[in-house]
Symmetry: C2
Subunit: 422 residues, 2 copies
Amino acid sequence: MNSAVIIPVGDELLNGSVTDTNSAWIASRLFLSGIEVKRILCVGDTMEELLSAITLATQIADIIIITGGLGPTKDDITKHALCIWSGSALKRDEPSYQRILQYMKARGREVNSLNASQADVPAACRVLPNINGTAPGMWFDLHGKTLISLPGVPYEMKAIIEDFVLQDLQSRYSDSLILESSLLVSGVPESELALLLEGFERDLPYRLQIAYLPEPGLVKLKLRLQSSPANKSADLILLNTWIDKAADIIGIAVLGRNGDTLESVIISDLRSAGKTLAIAESCTGGTIGSMLVSIPGASDVFVGGVMSYSNEMKVSLLGVDSEILHSHGAVSEAVACAMAVGVRKLSQSDYGLSVTGIAGPDGGSKDKPVGTVWIGIADSTGVQAFHFRFEQHRMRNIRKASLAALDILRKKHWGFLGKGSN
Amino acid sequence: MNSAVIIPVGDELLNGSVTDTNSAWIASRLFLSGIEVKRILCVGDTMEELLSAITLATQIADIIIITGGLGPTKDDITKHALCIWSGSALKRDEPSYQRILQYMKARGREVNSLNASQADVPAACRVLPNINGTAPGMWFDLHGKTLISLPGVPYEMKAIIEDFVLQDLQSRYSDSLILESSLLVSGVPESELALLLEGFERDLPYRLQIAYLPEPGLVKLKLRLQSSPANKSADLILLNTWIDKAADIIGIAVLGRNGDTLESVIISDLRSAGKTLAIAESCTGGTIGSMLVSIPGASDVFVGGVMSYSNEMKVSLLGVDSEILHSHGAVSEAVACAMAVGVRKLSQSDYGLSVTGIAGPDGGSKDKPVGTVWIGIADSTGVQAFHFRFEQHRMRNIRKASLAALDILRKKHWGFLGKGSN
């Protein structure tokens, strides 16, 4: 495998004002192209530091990718460092200058001398056009190495990488590529999943690697395989055979594959089935709705619902019996069921989904500690509710309750929960 | 300033499976303690790479902080590298072993030999207790340098840094500290803000540094001042005088200070005033609600509301006149007003806040392109609505519309918007 070093540049990264998310994104793209990132060397806006990082990088890798330090102000020094490194002077790049003129014109702004100077690049480089901003990317082939300098703004950087960098790098540096396939597994802790797959891992061909990537409430299970353009088709079949085997073993906890999310799977499955959904959110207060509307076209499925944060809203809007609220408490099976039935009825939707719980940090009791959550699901056949006990942390409880609710909806829709009661 | 290097360790960081958020967090804490991070050197789980990063780090800094690579499996090699670096062998740390026993017992799990081995640390280190996990932190004073090794799990790492690291490092390495104060500014682009503060920046004493940190819809304006324990009180007065001056110049766009967020300011201000709030969300679909319930105690203020994603919900739940919906369209001043009035009425709350818009990517027209949003606010004096034109990107539109709505509520509550109409 050919190797790369990523050099994120910026004082704001070293004083913690900004978290570097660019490097992980670049690293994942290079990895799949069969290029291994050996190090990420984050330095400040200092000529000496940047030049020493470049020197070090060229000693250990063939490809150097620099992000940031291309702004128009004087503390951005990447371009000047690259003049020194490449032994070439700044030179106006006319196409970049024209793009800057257009960019500013489209925003009704004048081009000042600082903006214009962003079209000046070291003469030794080839320009990588930036369609989303004013700082062009730069590609150097020098001293037997490839050095690429990109703006630090994530969506500017990403467009340049995808449009002008990845394919060139791969064809020049990589005769291999990494094939990946993943399962999104819900509600099974990583350790239990690993236990479940013990036999599977034992039988797995040595070329296939398995990785468990846990996030709150979910685990992403990845299989990876180093391949080559020539063997890609055959290797994809091998990879998919084994990912299917893993999916069979894990069963209904597998909610999706590759780029899926719980919310995208629900929108797509309910859309195919022509079903609609309404939700009644108490402790999650709109979080499930915000997850659903993040998916373009959610309106085909999601009609809306009620944030019944107060008890009064549960009674007045959802028609929850105040007797039941009083005798069972707002966080109870009976209220979760009444909320699900209520929101389904008032929205005339196919499914009614409800969440009521104690997110914390206050409001817990001995019987119902912080983290107690009831989730209700209603459809034309009846209603049922499920009890969860999450943890002490408010934001994690809200997140886990939202995921658990969507997962119950998924299982209901897939026919795994049986009928509710009336 | 004394200096530090942070070394995040892990193959998952170099193949992009995981984004390193630990380094920015550590860097910001060190920065405020007067310790400068010179580099962040991210390496994989390879003995040679880690040892070479440690060697490089000790050449350029006094303090080395390593995160990750402390898991119980054989690919975690940080501890073995530190045995080599410190010339000492692994030795069982009895207090750590007892903590692991307790940790596993509390979770109903057995301690196996892998877990137990996490209590083995290089004899040359002082143990930093990990109350949230099984891998202890380690502190080495060797070769005239301080090296600290911490687990990679963010909340385990953070607790150790705060409880056992920062104060010791500061008292030993730093005779200075950085004082910071910030303003959260809403709805003014960074470039306009800089123009507004041109005179302010000219007059600013040279010891004070200004920084603009933009995020969607907001800009954080920071003033920083290098101080010392002895001068801290006097310098805090100087810093606050200048931050007050900036706040005066910026005016009502300043929504809060330091740790504030728009949602925390709203919950706290409405709570003090004894006011309640209900919301009607169309295109934001619950996002405003989810922002509000992220604040503990939100239920004192936020009674809930309606996700009126479909037109039917706007009519049936909020009482929006279907004539108005038909003649003006769902994204209109009239509908925004009707939604705000409707949700206020049905919840009996002091404020009713509404959002209706076209988040995209589809649904736009020539008259109402993607990004068109109307926000309505109703109180006892009447109702008014405001028009926004955001951009093409669905998630940014949802985020910006949610922030704009909360900011209109803030301005209404602060008395800047005048009376609505009836």
